[in-house]
Assembly symmetry: C2
Homo-oligomer: 147 residues x 2
């Protein structure tokens, strides 16, 4: 899933670029996924997200991951932010998109993913900020609330 | 700096908990640090931050790191958020504090740190959000702007 290389006397985790999506459905609700996470050693509530396949562009990866995890597809897309998740020890670059005007479809998660999709209305976003424990999800929701 | 362990068939980076500080000086400016970052392979502009020493509590670590990196000390402290930086592959837990009413003092960065401190006024925060490329810094500034 990742390599560790030695650069300038420091170990660096070399990781594929990643994408996450603030996906707003036709009723103005944001779609989040709940799944077991290795780093947290328990379930976390997060934006739909994933890593780029070889040769894939960030936007294409984001559209593929959103559809796989939630079934949501189509719609209008814009980049909200790109940032390093942990620049002190990893080169992982995260691109967070906003997707609106999405159409409903069937999800097709990877077989090794155990995720459930939850949707939260606009009035629930302030409370979500209190319970979310994932960096990219906080960045995405906070930027969405500023639009 | 970190270990990699195998858990449930996945490699996980085991990392010390970390702290970052939204530090507001007597003129209402936020103090950021610019330094070379292994993951980005160039300089990044970030909140003052660091990892907990053995046996250290998050708040104590945050006060120590802020003083070492910027010279700012004392003041009033509150926790803004705690979150996983990359829950898909690392257990790093980040605590972001807000510190206000700080007193000026002398910085004492570690000898291996090459950092410069920059301060930005309230009017510059929206522009900062466009140029910052670090997850914890985006979370901290965005939460500060909601207060």
């Amino acid at each position: 899933m990742f390599d560790v290389v030695r650069e300038d006397g420091k170990d660096v985790v070399v990781h594929a670029p990643a994408v996450a999506i603030v996906a707003i459905d036709g009723e103005g609700r944001v779609a989040l996924v709940r799944q077991p996470r290795a780093g947290a050693r328990r379930d976390l509530l997060e934006l739909p997200a994933g890593i780029l396949d070889a040769g894939e562009e960030p936007l294409g990866a984001a559209q593929r991951e959103l559809c796989e995890e939630t079934g949501l597809r189509g719609g209008d897309w814009r980049l909200l932010a790109s940032f390093f998740t942990t620049p002190g020890f990893s080169d992982e670059l995260m691109h967070v998109y906003l997707a609106t005007g999405l159409e409903e479809g069937d999800a097709a998660p990877d077989e090794d993913e155990q995720l459930t999709v939850e949707r939260y209305g606009p009035n629930e976003l302030p409370r979500l900020l209190e319970i979310v424990e994932d960096a990219k999800t906080l960045v995405g929701l906070l930027l969405y609330l500023r639009l």
